[in-house]
Each structure stands twice: as structure tokens, then as C-alpha cells.
């Protein structure tokens, strides 16, 4: 039998307080975490309607050659990205990163609209000549692998 002395009582109280504190922190954490998780989709997944509409997601692929259109009087741009299989339309308003170019890899975050166009709020291009966003690199590797098998 454990005797409940005043010292033990204090320890129990401390343990309870810490337990309460830690559990409330963890629920705060989990809440914030689940609210801010952003999933990545490929153009193929988008074409299969696997990506949710109007929620914050990321997509990536290669910018299709000759698909880039720039508006004359605003910062709006339109282009297509593809993953060798499927392609999708993208619109973006703002300044593109220095290393953005047709035929290069790109990762964007934003929302998918009803007509299947991706409205990007942020565009990330690769950092240098030798580097590609890992999501795109993985994706292209998979696709290329599939091509070789055929």
C-alpha cells in the first residue's frame, strides 16, 4: 500500500497539473497540425479527380513548352504543367521566380477551381541548374521508369 502523505499529495497534484497541461498542448498541436497539412498532387491525380476542389493543395510538374501566356496589362499568367501523362491549366497573378521557365520543373501551392484550372498563390521553381524540386524529380522518375518498362 502506498501511503498518501502530504508530500505524495503534492506530487500527485503536480503530476495531474502537468498531465493536464501536456494534454491540452497536444490537442492544440494536433488541431493546428491537421488544419495546416497541405497535400501534394500530380497532374495525373488531378485528372483522375483525386484532388479536392477549393482547398489548399500543392501540385507540381514540368511547365509545358509553348504553353506560357502573359497578360498585357496585369501580372496574370497562364500556363500548363504536365507529368508526361496528363496536363493541367494553371493561372497565377504575381511575379514568377527567377528560375521559372518552360520545360522546367515547378511546384505550386494554391486551389483547384471547378473547371480544373489550378489557381496558384505561390510558385516555386528549382533553385539552380542541377536541382529540381524533389516532388517533381520523384514523379518524373516514376513516369520515366514506367516508360522504360513499356
Amino acid at each position: 500500500m502506498i501511503k498518501i502523505t502530504s508530500r505524495n499529495k503534492k506530487t500527485i497534484a503536480k503530476v495531474l497539473v502537468f498531465f493536464f497541461a501536456i494534454s491540452s498542448f497536444s490537442s492544440l498541436l494536433i488541431y493546428a497540425f491537421s488544419k495546416n497539412m497541405v497535400y501534394f498532387y500530380t497532374p495525373t491525380q488531378v485528372s483522375k479527380k483525386e484532388a479536392p476542389l477549393n482547398s489548399h493543395i500543392r501540385v507540381g510538374g514540368m511547365v509545358k513548352v509553348n504553353s506560357f501566356i502573359k497578360s498585357k496589362d496585369s501580372l496574370k499568367v497562364y500556363f500548363k504543367i504536365h507529368d508526361l501523362d496528363q496536363e493541367m491549366n494553371v493561372t497565377y497573378e504575381g511575379i514568377l521566380p527567377d528560375l521559372f521557365a518552360e520545360g522546367q520543373g515547378v511546384v505550386m501551392s494554391g486551389k483547384l477551381s471547378k473547371d480544373g484550372t489550378f489557381v496558384a498563390s505561390e510558385v516555386l521553381a528549382k533553385h539552380d541548374e542541377n536541382y529540381m524540386p524533389p516532388e517533381v524529380a520523384d514523379m518524373m522518375k516514376e513516369k520515366n521508369g514506367a516508360l522504360y518498362k513499356k
Partner: protein, 646 residues
């Protein structure tokens, strides 16, 4: 020649590190003094050898020796000399060599500044340093050797990544590494103490100096990186919660917690076992950071190599180190647990809460950083955790920490009279709330609650710490002027300055985040635009040539109340060799505001895309960091036997 000598020196140091480590097993056979002399000299020799091989690499860069693969891939004949020098740590191999150099430097410093630590502990500490050195040297020799040859020898190198050609980046890595690697000292101390099973107060005050030193360097290193991002990346941001930034921030949070728990351990003899655990965790987080940055699993400017083998090697070492030291901790730490009663109003309790919050914040950032990596490596989908998560969690958890800074300084050990504490601080809190309210409503005409909370807590900290510092001055200045000036407990100056720094930083961050203006527009030459109180006129764009890039330089004039203020020259550079385009923003920094102009694309003949930011009080961010660092220096040089204010 360079290759052979460099490799030879590295191999010898690896062998000697192994000898250093083996000393720990020879306790029963060799006398303490002999073992001590052996360890001490070995650590000096290893330092000299690694320093020499590092110098050879520097030399290879300076004379453009492109027969080394590493030099060929990261330098170029036309690169300025200073960047040839900093290119040494511009990529993976060289930066790991720098890591080891600093590790050997810290280990050679242990016997030099061992103070009152008994020889048997110093010997164990150096021995454990030996195993760390051994690991990194083996890692260099077998998987990231900067002395590897390339054949055929190229006529010219591939050039340094243009992003890294910036003055801030010359010293950012070395300083950050000094801080990062500095966490190895508390780690080896913790392990040595666990092996010994005994600890004394004097040792803790000794350890605290080391912890403050590496805290100072980590702070400088991280803030330089941030400063660089602000000036160089062209987005006007200074913190992105990028995994690499988190990798350096987690050890910072952990070492900040350690700094505070060591105060309690030193003065009250409790929290010792917790401090030991924190020391182990801090170093583990540093190693984890190295793993994250070096393994190439992250998308970042810092991710040089895409080599899973290297990552695997570091990961295995990481688990060995963390695993074995935690096993040691849980089997031995019970000897280091001491009890002492303290009430909820005591300084001990407030510092306990501080540690609790800092640890949870570290864990939250760890979760946000690692979770995406885990799901993607287990094929559970590609997820990213956005900046909003970190911002929310970080500010929510840091608010109580900031609030408790003033009570922590004003409270007493063991028990504080609650009434006198609330009387002292209540007034200050009230004034801070009023000042913050007046400032926000009359100056910014805004009432965002979180900004109000941030500013008033920051003011609360600033005012209370300032008063505390000047109280000390007042008390001492009454008597003999110079004698008392020397006897001012610099630990109080140290913590006041650091806390004021945090307050200043918070004001800078909140005001510049919530009240800045941003314009992304198309401007035609000769046109003007108004941003806040300043009119920006787009004058012209000129071509400019430099040794390794060509650039287009915009010319903008700023006017305030129709009076000319300053001109801006933002550039769009194209680097000759890698054909990279880089945006060089132009920034005019004043106490009250920064104006930041970046040149975008050329749309038609005379029209360009321009990005302009007006960021109020962002300079306070750097001033705040400066105060924290200054406080840190006072902490390093503080006398531990200084009069305790309580």
C-alpha cells in the same frame, strides 16, 4: 600533392581520434595524469592536423586547382578571391570539413579552459569528443572527401552558386557551425558526468559559460542567415519555416531552455538530471539538423547533395549516439536527482514553466519538420506543413514565455511574496498596456488583438528589464564609483539585455508583419507610385558589367513630401557560367522603416514588373538580436561568484 597530404592528415587524425576514444577504456591501467596529458596533447595534434588539411583546401581554392573535383564544381577563375575563400564551405564536402575543424577546436578548448573540472572528467569528455571526431573524419574520408581528384582536369570550374555570392554568406556558415558544434561540449559533459555519477555546483557554472558561448554563436549564425534571406532572396521575408531553418532553430530553442535550467541547477542544486537530459537532446537536435541539411532530402538552398548513402550514414550515427546516451541517462541519472521544496511563486517554478514551454515548442517544430519527411519516405503521400502551422503554434506557445520573463527576473528563489511582486509588476504591466494601446490606435489606427498582445508584452519585458538593470546601477553607483562598477553582477546585465532584446525583436516582428505594405506592379519608365508616405519614381534601367555576371540595374528615386530622399539601384543579374538569373533587391533601411525594391521582368520596351515593400520598424528585429548577443557576451564574461540579487 595537396590531395595526398590532405588525405594523409585526415587519416592520421582519424587514427588519433580513435586513440583519444580508447583512453576511456584504460582507466584502470594508466595513471590519471598520464591519461590527461595524453588526451590533451592528442586533442591539440588533431586540431593542428585538421587545420592544416583545411588550409590545403583553402589554398587549392585560391590557386584554382581544378584537379580537385570539389574545387572544380564550386569555384571559377573569375570568382572574386573572397568568394573563392568562402566557396570552401559553399557545398557539402567542405562544410563537413569545416564542421570537423570546429569540433576539433572545441575539443582542444576543453583542456585549455577546464577551470575547476577534475582531470578524470576532462579525460572522459575529450575521449567522447574523440568518437565524434572519428565518426565525422571517417564520413569525410569515405563518402564526402573534398580532396577527391577529377579526370580529365577541367580548364575552368563550374562556379559557386550565385545565391551564395553574398557577404553575409561568407561568415554565416562558420558562425552557425561554431554554435551548432558547440552543443557538443554540454553533450560530452553530460555523458562524462553520467559515467562518473557525481556532479558539483562549480562544474555547472563552468558548463553554463560554454552553453552561453554556443548560444551566442548559434544566435549570430541564425540571424545572419535570416539577414541574408531578407537581402538576397528578393522576397522581403526573413524567416520561412523552411526545414533547414527549423533544423538550426530547434537546437537554439533547446539550448535556450538548457541555459535557463542550468541557472536553477547552479543556484539551487535541482533540475540537474533534467539539465543533463537537455544537454543530450540539444546535441541530438544539432546532429539531426546536420542530417536533415546534408542528406539531401530537403528542398532548399542548403541541400547540396542528393546522396541517400550519406544521409543513411549520418542517420545510423545519429541513432547510435542518441540511443546509447539515452540508455546511459536512464540507467544512471537517478543518482543526479535532488529534491528541494519550492512554491508556485518561486523563481524555480517560473523557470520550470519556461523550460516546459520551450521544450514543447521544440517538439512542435520537430513534428512539423519531420512529419512530411516520414510520410513521404513511408509512401503515405506527399504532405507539407505550411508556415501558418508554425506561426500559430510558435506564437501561442511563446506568449506565456514572454509574459513570464519579467516575473522570472523579479521573483525570488524558493518563495516570493506574491503581493509585493504583483505590486511591482502590476504598474509596469498597466503602463505597457496603455502605451501599446495608444501607439496602435493613434499611430496605426488599428486594433488587431494579437498585435496589441505582442506589443504590450514586449513593452512589459523591455520596461521591467530596464528598470531592473538600472536599479543595480543606482545601488552600486552611490558608493565607490570604480570599485562598484567592476562589481556589478554582469549576469543581471546579461539577462536584462537579452530580455530587452527579445522585447525589441518582438515589436519589430509584429509591427513589420502586420503593418507593412506591398506592391507588385508594372511600371513604365518615368512613372511614379505612392507607398505609405513615400513616392517612388522609376527613372531608368541601365546595363552593368562585372567580372562574373552582367546585370540590368534599375534606377528609382524616392521622394517624401516632394523632397528627394534617396535613390535605389535594384539589379537583375545573369551569372555568366551557370546562366542563373538573380534578383538583387535594393533596400533603404531607417529606424522607422525599410523600403525594399526588387526588379522583376521586362514586359515591354519601357515597362518592368516591380516589387516594392514598405516595412515599418523591421530594423528593430536586427537591433533586438544585437542586444541578445550583447547580453550573451556579458553572460560569458560574468563572474559566477557575483552577488546574487536575492
Amino acid at each position: 600533392m595537396i590531395t595526398e597530404i590532405g588525405n594523409l592528415f585526415l587519416s592520421i587524425s582519424a587514427t588519433l581520434s580513435l586513440c583519444m576514444f580508447s583512453i576511456i577504456f584504460l582507466k584502470k591501467f594508466i595513471d590519471v595524469d598520464l591519461r590527461y596529458a595524453f588526451c590533451k596533447n592528442l586533442s591539440f595534434i588533431v586540431l593542428s592536423l585538421i587545420f592544416l588539411s583545411f588550409s590545403f583546401l583553402v589554398y587549392a581554392f585560391l590557386i584554382d586547382d581544378f584537379s580537385l573535383r570539389y574545387v572544380a564544381s564550386n569555384s571559377n577563375i573569375s570568382l572574386e578571391n573572397i568568394y573563392k575563400f568562402s566557396a570552401v564551405w559553399g557545398a557539402h564536402e567542405g562544410s563537413i570539413l569545416l564542421w570537423v575543424l570546429i569540433l576539433s577546436l572545441w575539443s582542444a578548448c576543453i583542456p585549455l579552459f577546464s577551470g575547476k573540472i577534475p582531470k578524470r572528467i576532462v579525460i572522459d569528455m575529450i575521449s567522447i569528443m574523440g568518437v565524434l571526431l572519428l565518426f565525422f573524419l571517417v564520413f569525410i574520408l569515405f563518402s564526402s572527401n573534398p580532396f577527391d581528384r577529377i579526370f580529365p582536369i577541367p580548364l575552368n570550374g563550374k562556379d559557386l552558386n550565385p545565391l551564395l555570392q553574398d557577404p553575409g554568406l561568407i561568415i554565416h556558415p562558420p558562425l552557425l557551425y561554431i554554435g551548432y558544434v558547440g552543443t557538443s561540449v554540454p553533450f560530452v559533459f553530460a555523458v562524462a558526468v553520467l559515467i562518473d555519477g557525481h556532479i558539483e555546483t562549480e562544474w555547472i557554472s563552468w558548463l553554463r559559460k560554454w552553453v552561453i558561448s554556443s548560444w551566442v554563436f548559434l544566435t549570430i549564425g541564425i540571424s545572419l542567415g535570416s539577414w541574408w534571406a531578407y537581402h538576397e532572396l528578393g522576397w522581403g521575408g526573413w524567416w520561412f519555416w523552411d526545414p533547414v531553418e527549423n533544423a538550426s532553430f530547434m537546437p537554439w530553442l533547446a539550448i535556450t531552455a538548457l541555459l535557463h535550467s542550468l541557472i536553477v541547477s547552479e543556484k539551487r542544486g535541482i533540475f540537474i538530471s533534467w539539465s543533463i537530459l537537455l544537454s543530450i537532446l540539444t546535441f541530438s537536435l544539432s546532429l539531426l539538423g546536420t542530417f536533415l541539411v546534408r542528406s539531401g532530402i530537403l528542398v532548399s538552398v542548403h541541400a547540396f547533395a542528393n546522396d541517400p548513402e550519406r544521409g543513411l550514414y549520418i542517420l545510423i550515427f545519429l541513432s547510435l549516439i542518441i540511443g546509447s546516451s539515452l540508455i546511459l541517462y536512464f540507467s544512471r541519472s537517478s543518482k543526479l536527482i535532488f529534491y528541494r521544496e519550492y512554491s508556485v511563486t518561486s523563481k524555480e517554478f517560473i523557470l520550470l514553466i519556461n523550460n516546459l514551454f520551450l521544450t514543447i515548442t521544440t517538439f512542435a517544430i520537430l513534428l512539423g519538420t519531420l512529419y512530411p519527411l516520414i510520410t513521404s519516405s513511408l509512401d503515405l503521400g506527399k504532405i507539407s506543413v505550411g508556415a501558418p502551422y508554425f506561426n500559430f503554434i510558435f506564437s501561442a506557445l511563446m506568449l506565456p514565455v514572454v509574459f513570464l520573463m519579467a516575473p522570472a527576473v523579479y521573483s525570488n528563489w524558493s518563495k516570493t511574496n506574491y503581493n509585493s511582486l504583483s505590486k511591482k509588476l502590476g504598474k509596469i504591466l498597466f503602463y505597457s498596456l496603455v502605451i501599446a494601446y495608444v501607439w496602435m490606435n493613434f499611430y496605426y489606427k488599428s486594433d488587431i488583438f494579437i498585435v496589441y498582445l505582442g506589443i504590450s508584452l514586449a513593452l512589459f519585458t523591455i520596461i521591467s528589464s530596464t528598470i531592473k538593470m538600472f536599479q543595480i546601477f543606482d545601488n552600486t553607483f552611490e558608493k565607490n564609483y570604480f570599485k562598484t562598477l567592476l562589481s556589478i553582477p554582469s549576469s543581471i546585465i546579461a539577462n536584462s539585455l537579452a530580455h530587452i532584446g527579445i522585447g525589441v525583436l518582438i515589436i519589430g516582428v509584429t509591427v513589420s508583419t502586420y503593418y507593412s505594405s506591398q506592391k507588385e506592379i508594372i511600371m513604365v519608365k518615368g512613372s511614379e507610385i505612392l507607398i505609405k508616405d513615400t513616392k517612388i519614381k522609376f527613372v531608368d534601367v541601365e546595363g552593368k558589367l562585372s567580372s562574373n555576371y552582367t546585370s540590368q540595374m534599375g534606377i528609382f528615386d524616392a521622394y517624401k513630401n516632394d523632397k528627394y530622399v534617396i535613390s535605389f539601384f535594384p539589379e537583375k543579374r545573369t551569372y555568366n557560367i551557370q546562366k542563373n538569373v538573380m534578383t538583387e533587391a535594393a533596400i533603404d533601411s531607417r529606424l522607422m522603416r525599410d523600403i525594399y525594391i526588387a526588379l522583376g521582368e521586362n514586359i515591354a520596351d519601357d515597362s518592368w514588373v516591380v516589387r516594392i515593400y514598405y516595412k515599418p520598424f523591421i530594423q528593430l528585429l536586427w537591433y533586438g538580436v544585437g542586444l541578445m548577443i550583447l547580453g550573451g557576451f556579458f553572460g560569458i564574461f560574468s563572474r559566477t561568484n557575483s552577488v546574487n540579487n536575492n
